[in-house]
Symmetry: C2
Subunit: 228 residues, 2 copies
DNA sequence: ATTTTTGTTTAGTTGGGGCTAAACTGTGTC
DNA sequence: GACACAGTTTAGCCCCAACTAAACAAAAAT
């Protein structure tokens, strides 16, 4: 009964809304109209209109004046888009020499046009990878996604060793800067000092050495404890 | 003055219309409303509407009740789409193991979504190829395309040797059959007999051997003289 | 407990790109 | 020259997905 409606192909817009709602409601709560609007760069009334259509087709649930959440069906559709996006990003960097700061835009357009078949072929060609170039987990074709508990570098315990697992931005300028600094997934990091009042964080990279970065960036660098 | 209008991105539909008009008017003449309609699977009035928009933006010229032709600007836009399509088809077959009978549909959707950048990267990865998997010439980024004079196998002189250069269909069933028969670009062929009244053609393949094919297919197989 | 502010929704409009039904043209036939 | 017919165009409609302006709810401030 979950698939009462057939697999009607979704429009480009619908796919974008579902992805946005997925990201905005990932930490449990509701995605609000204005958050969706600003993420998609449209006016709030446009979002209200789309919310009506999406909840009519059963992809989201809407609590007026509070926000929306994905239904199971909607979450699956969103995860399918996220899989597409991340496989494409990885394929473009690995096989067509894109830089990790340039793939987002290209993948953003392609994800709406390619077939599941192509995505699966790309994934196979890459050895069914689990992470995209920014360290974000790639959902499986069945819609399962790894839910790792990661801690922003801004908040990790000084002295302990962590692995930088994921860089949580698609902004080309930030990504370029971080790559220059060697702050890429897989690196081992230890925080050696932190200035008060949201000041910069001093850290040691292995391999690499000393770095000082601002809090804004330190919030984007998601880490995991490695030593016990 | 040819580029009075900026490089406004064209819609998916507009791109499809330009491609269709290019193909239909390639042998000199006008593309008619109903030919465009049946090629794009839309109703004739829809074509009339689009013709208005395209000629308003200067991409085509319209002679009422006669048909349309591409302007220079329109031809360039069409050739850009054809380049995209053919590079994609070749990339998918060469790098992602698609069969030559399955690439068309995928390329058809992707060609509207990818950047010129990606197409050029794919072309570079393939060594700037000149022909797609069906032997059709790939336009250059500047919009130049090879205009070879090819003769349908149905019409070639018996006894002489030709090279099969291009297979002029995208129909998966026909393509599959032709591949099974070894009728792929690059093969050397000699016609050894032809039945009257549009009957089948008997030919020898090198390498391969004897084949008998109907006239319908023989019209799709485009050949070039090889011996002097 | 009102009032103000902020955020959301409804109402009404626009443009792209389809559609059907009806009017019109051009061509070929008697 | 008149007519029939095939093909083209116009008229009028629909859906999607955006927009602005205005009405409405909820939360914050007085």
């Amino acid at each position: 009964m979950s698939a009462l409606l057939a697999d009607v192909p979704l429009s480009r817009s619908v796919e974008d809304y579902l992805k946005a709602i997925y990201h905005l409601s990932s930490q449990g709560g509701f995605a609000t109209t204005s958050d969706i609007a600003s993420m998609l760069m449209v006016a709030p009334p446009s979002v209200s209109g789309m919310i009506r259509r999406l909840s009519d087709t059963g992809l989201i649930e809407h609590v007026p004046y509070r926000g929306v959440q994905l239904t199971n069906q909607g979450r699956l559709a969103a995860l399918r888009m996220i899989r597409r996006h991340r496989v494409l990003e990885l394929y473009l960097t690995e096989r067509l020499d894109y830089d990790w700061d340039g793939v987002h835009e290209e993948a953003e357009r392609m994800e709406h046009a390619v077939s599941d078949e192509l995505i699966d072929r790309m994934a196979r060609a890459l050895g069914n990878p689990r992470y995209d170039p920014h360290g974000a987990p790639i959902p499986t074709p069945a819609g399962e996604i790894e839910e790792a508990v990661l801690i922003p570098l801004a908040d990790i315990d000084p002295g302990l060793t962590y692995e930088l697992r994921q860089v949580d931005t698609e902004d080309p300028a930030r990504l370029r800067y971080l790559a220059e600094q060697g702050l890429v997934p897989g690196k081992a990091v230890t925080v050696t000092g932190r200035q008060p009042f949201n000041g910069p964080v001093t850290l040691t990279l292995q391999p690499g050495g000393e770095r000082v970065i601002g809090r804004e960036l330190a919030l984007l660098l998601l880490c995991r404890r490695t030593d016990v």
